[in-house]
Structures are given as structure tokens and as C-alpha cells.
């Protein structure tokens, strides 16, 4: 547990608090409307036809990108950082997974199929998934170019200025970074790439941070050089 002193607050009567709260409510409602508007804008993005063939290793053996839709029209991919030589999946991505693992069943009923994709071999993914108690679908992109084409894995030896991440350059030299990509499959089985987000673009998909945004200390990460330093795999916190 982190220990930062709470800033002493001016205590007020319930009536005064209500006045301040209602002022904030106006700003919150405005924010909600802006978010709705941005969601509409996002859906207006043009789509790009996926011409390449990708084959993944998954629980059903070899699966093409089209197979991952599992009969639905929309596919959301979480680019989970797990490089082939790592002993375990990235702790931050695991935090994201703790957020999405329980809600995928609901997405499935709005025509959305969900899968995580990592470069590590399927055997490693399965073992780690079992350890963490997750049930979402997780496939390995192995040696295919999927992760590189969607800008979440980076070849060694290339200066970061020449690499693309979050529509700019990666913040530091690394083999893998997180992201989310969305695909659509039409009745003729054409697959389109519709959207990708990275970095703080996937911030709101970690609902836990929205919860932290409600408490007095907020995200409370300023004291750390790397914001998520406090984070552990959910089975690695001290009891």
C-alpha cells in the first residue's frame, strides 16, 4: 500500500458540498456528451481491407484471422505484451486482462468477439493463463507479421526513430508494447481493419483507472518514475 499524505481539506456542510458537487456534475455531463460524440466520430473512420493472410496458433489449432471472429462480424484484439523469451506476461497487460476477462461474455452478445494476441508460443500463453485463472481466448502470432504490421512489436536493431508506435515513435527501445485493434468481417468474408489505439488511447479500457479517478488520491502514481510501479500480477501481492 502506498503512503502519501492526504491533502488536508476544507471541511464543509452537506449543503456547501452539494453546491460544489452540482457544479462538477455540469462538467461531468459535458464530458460524457463529448465522449459519446467522439465514439460516433470513431465509427466514421474509413476501413482498410486486410489483404495479408495471418495464421495464429490457438486452442483450436491453426486459425486464420477470419476464424477468430467465431461467426460474429466484429473482432476486438487486445495486443498483450508477451515476447517469446519472456517467462511471464506483462504485469500491466495482466491488469488490463483482469478488467476484460469478466465482461467478454457480454460483448459476445453485441456481435463482438474478443481475443488477445501475443508473440510468445501458445504453450507459454496457456500456462500463464491457467496461473492467472483467465478464460478469454488467447492466440499466438508466433513468427507471423501480425504484431509488426499493427505496430505493437518491433524488430531488434532498428533505431526507435524509424519505428512506429501510437502514430509516432515508441517512447523507448523495446520489443513489444500494448494496444487494441478492431476488425470487421462482411458477409462476403472480406476483413477490414477499422481502428487501433495505443498508449493512453487504451486508458479508458482499464476501467480500474476510472474508479481511481473517483477517490481523493486519484491514480496516485506521481511519486513513481514508472507510473505503474505499484502494480503486481494479481497473485503476487503480499497477503
Amino acid at each position: 500500500m502506498t503512503k502519501t499524505d492526504l491533502i488536508k481539506r476544507k471541511l464543509v456542510s452537506p449543503k456547501e458540498w452539494l453546491g460544489a458537487r452540482k457544479k462538477l456534475l455540469v462538467q461531468e455531463k459535458e464530458f460524457t456528451r463529448l465522449r459519446d460524440q467522439l465514439s460516433r466520430q470513431r465509427r466514421e473512420l474509413p476501413w482498410v481491407k486486410v489483404e495479408r493472410e495471418y495464421v495464429f496458433e490457438g486452442p483450436n489449432g491453426k486459425e486464420a484471422l477470419g476464424d477468430l471472429f467465431e461467426g460474429r462480424n466484429q473482432l476486438v484484439i487486445y495486443h498483450f505484451m508477451y515476447a517469446p523469451d519472456w517467462e511471464e506476461g506483462c504485469p500491466s497487460c495482466s491488469f488490463w486482462a483482469d478488467n476484460f476477462n469478466g465482461i467478454i461474455v457480454h460483448l459476445n452478445h453485441r456481435d463482438v468477439t474478443f481475443a488477445a494476441i501475443s508473440r510468445a508460443p501458445l504453450k507459454k500463453l496457456n500456462a500463464f493463463k491457467k496461473r492467472m485463472g483467465w478464460t478469454f481466448k488467447w492466440v499466438s502470432s508466433g513468427n507471423n507479421d501480425f504484431n509488426y504490421d499493427y505496430h505493437v512489436s518491433f524488430p531488434a536493431g532498428v533505431p526507435k526513430e524509424e519505428l512506429e508506435y501510437n502514430y509516432g515513435n515508441p517512447p523507448f527501445a523495446t520489443s513489444d508494447l500494448p494496444g487494441v485493434s478492431v476488425f470487421y468481417k462482411d458477409p462476403e468474408r472480406n476483413i477490414f481493419h477499422t481502428y487501433s489505439a495505443y498508449s493512453r488511447g487504451i486508458d479508458v479500457l482499464n476501467t480500474a483507472y476510472n474508479y481511481l479517478d473517483l477517490v481523493p488520491k486519484g491514480r496516485d502514481e506521481d511519486e513513481f518514475e514508472f507510473g505503474m510501479e505499484w502494480l503486481r500480477h494479481h497473485d503476487r501481492y503480499e497477503k
Binding site: 465522449r35 476501413w47 476484460f100 486519484g218 491514480r219 505499484w230 501481492y237
Partner: protein, 261 residues
């Protein structure tokens, strides 16, 4: 789905970069609202509340479990419901997985409902959840934080929910929206009984043995806390429920109630 514009990767990228600016702007605005939220003044809690939990009788201070901050999810589960609210259940499916991280970042999260604890416990077991869930059965906690209302308040039209009197669809007494009636039926109850409880989230802080109320949010204020919607907002069809709403349909079910497909 109607046909959609397609383009080259270059065309897509140009549109995407434009959207990226708007997204960054919204992220900054979200940070600003969060900062303003943290600047809200605090109100001292003078009342003593007794809850029933899996560790026996507990005070509000006990719900902090050694942390200095407490988030209470006001889970709709009235004493007369036969099951917890199905809509709240979709929110709980999200936080059930990450409360462990909040607990290790000085935030205890507890759901609180008016149903007797035995009912809560049975329902929680059915859903396979492990988060803390306390019963406020018989105490005034839910009424004080504007998430439970009396029959008299319903009759008089004196319900203040989401900082507004009579401003919410659930305040309606003569004709409740179909979606509310469906939600009620999924809890084995009728509309008026169902709407005497409401969803919300409240934040408290414990400092030198004193508890302060810092924040409460209701209605669409919970939207960003509802994981499934944030993901759907990124899919081509979006929330994909407008038509259903027009016909009064409710698409979600409790996670163990979907027909297998």
C-alpha cells in the same frame, strides 16, 4: 450493417490522425475533470451505520479494511428482489476482476445493498464473485446517499436522484419505460419495487479515525465505470442497442443466463 466507406491505409491514417487529436483532447479533459473531482470539499460522517458482512457485523470504518479510501458501489438489490439487479451484475463482472489491484493501491471497494445478507451471499455464490459485499438491511445508509427511496417518496414525487428531483426515467410512477420493467422482472419484482433502489458509486476517506464523504455519482455518471461499454464504444457497431431501446428490448443478461451459442 450498411456499407461503410473503405480506403487505403494512407487515407485511413489521415482520418485516424485527426481522430487521435480529438482522443488526446478528451483524455486531457478526463484528467481535468478527475482533478476537479479530487478538489471537492469533504463532509464529515456523523452517523453510525451497522452493516452485515461475511465477517459479521461491521461499521462503515470496517469496510475500509485498513485502507484510507473506500469506494461503495450501490448495488441494486432491494429486500424484496429475488436476485441482484442484472444490469448492476454486468458492472460487477468488471470490477470483480480488478478490486485486488485497487486494494493494493489504498482503495477498498465494497458493494452495499439493502437485501438481507443471506440473500446477498447466495446470489454472490451463484455469480462466482469474490468482492466485498455488505448488507445495509434496516439501516439508513442507502437512503442517506440517495440510492434507496420510500413508497411515500414515490407517491409524493419527492425523489432526489442524481442531484435532481424527478429528473430520471426511474422516477416515473405512472408508466415506467419497458427496459425498467424488464429489469424489474429479472429481479422477480415489479417496476415500483425495483425502482425504490438505484445504482450509484460513493467515495469516502478515513483520516485519523474520522470518515468523510467525498463524492457520489449516479445514472450515466457510472458509464465510464461500466467496462463493457468502453469496449463496445470502440467496435464498428458501437453499443449497438438503439433499435432495441426503441422496441423496449434489453440485450444483456446475467453471465449465467445467456443462451449457449
Amino acid at each position: 450493417m450498411a456499407t461503410h466507406n473503405t480506403g487505403t491505409r494512407e487515407e485511413w491514417l489521415a482520418a485516424r490522425l485527426e481522430l487521435l487529436e480529438a482522443e488526446k483532447e478528451l483524455t486531457r479533459r478526463s484528467d481535468q475533470v478527475a482533478q476537479r473531482r479530487q478538489k471537492l470539499p469533504w463532509v464529515r460522517i456523523e452517523k453510525e451505520y451497522r452493516f452485515e458482512t461475511d465477517e459479521g457485523s461491521a461499521t462503515l470504518a470496517d469496510l475500509f479494511r485498513g485502507r484510507s479510501q473506500l469506494l461503495v458501489y450501490h448495488y441494486m438489490f432491494g429486500p424484496d428482489y429475488t436476485a441482484g439487479c442484472a444490469t448492476c451484475s454486468t458492472i460487477a463482472d468488471g470490477f470483480n476482476g480488478f478490486v485486488v489491484h485497487l486494494a493494493n493501491h489504498d482503495v477498498a471497494l465494497s458493494a452495499v445493498s439493502r437485501a438481507p445478507f443471506a440473500k446477498i451471499q447466495a446470489y454472490q455464490r451463484r455469480m462466482g464473485w469474490t468482492f466485498s459485499w455488505a448488507s445495509s438491511f434496516g439501516n439508513e445508509f442507502n437512503f442517506d446517499f440517495n440510492v434507496s427511496f420510500s413508497e411515500q417518496q414515490q407517491r409524493e414525487g419527492s425523489i432526489d436522484y442524481n442531484y435532481e428531483r424527478g429528473g430520471h426515467a426511474m422516477d416515473e410512477t405512472t408508466q415506467l419505460p419497458d427496459i425498467v420493467v424488464q429489469n424489474a422482472a429479472m429481479c422477480g419484482t415489479d417496476g415500483p419495487t425495483y425502482t425504490r433502489d438505484r445504482p450509484g458509486m460513493s467515495a469516502f476517506v478515513l483520516e485519523d479515525g474520522v470518515i468523510y464523504h467525498t463524492y457520489s455519482t449516479y445514472a450515466r455518471g457510472l458509464d465510464g465505470l461500466w467496462g463493457m461499454y468502453q469496449w463496445l464504444d470502440r467496435a464498428p457497431k458501437g453499443r449497438n442497442e438503439a433499435e432495441l431501446y426503441q422496441t423496449g428490448g434489453l440485450w444483456w443478461r446475467r453471465h449465467d443466463e445467456y443462451a449457449k451459442r
